[in-house]
Amino acid sequence: MTKKQKNMLYRIIIAAVIYIPLFVMEHMGKLEFETTFPISFLLFMVPYVIVGWDIVYRAVRNISHGQVFDENFLMCIATFGALGVQEYSEAVAVMLFYQIGELFQGYAVGKSRQSISEMMDICPEYANIEVDGQLKQVDPDDVSVGDIIVVKAGERIPLDGVVVSGTSFVDTSALTGESVPRKVGEGSEIISGCVNGSGLLKVKTTKEFDDSTVAKILELVENASSKKAKVENFITKFAKYYTPFVVCAAVVLAIFPPLVLSQPFGEWLKRACIFLVISCPCALVISVPLGFFGGIGAASRQGVLVKGSNYLEVLSEMKTIVFDKTGTLTKGEFAVSKILPGEECKEEELLEMAALAEGFSDHPVAGALKNAYVERVSSALSMERVADAREIPGHGIMARIDGNLVCAGNAKLMEKEGVWYEANPEPGTVVYLAKDGIYMGSIVISDTVKPEARQAISQLRRSGVAKTVMLTGDRREVGEAVAHELGIDQVYTDLLPGDKVDKVESLLSELGEKERLGFVGDGINDAPVLGRADIGIAMGSMGSDAAIEAADIVLMDDDIMKISAVMRIARQTLKIVKQNIVFALLVKAAVLLLGALGMANMWEAVFADVGVSVIAILNSMRTLKVK
């Protein structure tokens, strides 16, 4: 609690201690004084002033500033009205409960704000720079690109850069939600906001602080509340009309029946006061944005940045999801996916032969073969066994291995050399191998599908996505094979970057009302599509800066499984927000109606105002905990 809140708490306690005996005495009939001097009024004024003087003061001050219809003013009118009809006890009670509610509300909002900012506590306070052999702490803002900074164990990495010396494990959980620390060493790129686990790192900065990941993320999160959901805008508009409407109704209620129908003035004034107590839209004005804020917070704890509450709203209505293939569903790197040895040869032998033949090449295919060999057979490739390796452009490589002539290349090479081979129809790049003119087998190299992709797709389907689509610039066989493997409904292949926008547009036109389309890409030439879709989801760690800027949602650790998790958070957030709206409006409407009919008292009105507010806030705080 802040000092201000503590003060308020003391005032409430003191006022309550004075009020309760007065209340009891009144009910036992001991406060009936037979004098013209208003003793009981003065007695009740003591707790009233203690607990509510600031409300009266603020009401007067704000009116002098031209701010009329604020809560302070309304509470004053309501309590003055109660005093006017000699309901002293209720006037104090209304003020007391109002203040308790306000205190609780302030505390709850502060608490949830704190827990969100703790979660987003990724901002580095300083950077260490070496000056004349001495470490000096400077503001990260003052470090320029190319400077060498020193990050000690346990410190937060202040700027993006490349490690020049030292090895360590870095904890990226604050940024990506990934709890396994990542190993870094000389040459590794590291991003700001992560925590250096064990070793001392010297880092050469590659970006200024303002362009570093951490500054960008903070900016995104801070700006998130400015992009409001439709529900939020509705509430803002609603609040604008609600208060004047209820206040006018109260005035009519106070004046019309007594004057026209000659009803007792006091009774109708009381009913009007009940209206005034309920006239504040606080429950909605606070709980709705708080709910969205909590939802965004819950998503960021999962390593997903949502750039505004409107995107949570859209996400909850997502019916079609379009994926880019390379880098999103697949790793975007080549790897050996299949080894098909011929009759004369074993798998390892074939792989060894291929790796040796391609050993001197720096083509991605060669890299994939060498990696596979290192992974599956042995860590050392004895290149001294290879002689006369030469590349035949557009065909492959011919080399002497242990004196035998080995050909490694595509079908054209086999035909050129007159070797019989077994055609391999697999999608991807196929390398055929022949030794001394005899076919040995073939190896398929393809972009590997992310291991979690299939599960991610089926989870999305379970979360209510009706259609999954894949777009790729790749060949038809490759695209269709991937789509089939992952269980994707539709696939469009051989697309140029511009075609992707057209495809997304035609998919958008197929959507019904209240159905939304999301696009997921890694950002390499995806930015236009990300912008065109109802909701653009980009890969954060692999994607380009342009994509992160164009996207509405960023997956910090590139894990597409998180999409369905965020959809769940979005749904839950919307559900909680709607619960609050319906609950608050119903209670208020009910008490207004009962109040107008003379069936509600001040106590119920206070509950409809502050009680509802507190309940709605507590409900909103649940969004923070959505997993």
Partner: protein
Amino acid sequence: MKKKFKLVDLDCANCAAKMENAIKKIDGVTDANVSFMMQKMTIEADDARFDEIMQEVVRVCKKVEPDCQIQM
């Protein structure tokens, strides 16, 4: 120029919305955003007249919510 300010004792969401609207009406302010959740205010305004505009912003905020302080 865009600048951020911390707000102290911004206690009600309704006031934040009122402050935002009032600031947006000031001449020379291109965009303003008062975030109740972050307790922060972002103001985008004319470079040349920024200080002058800020004085006006402080005045307007005092009028709407006198308890709230802008940290410069």
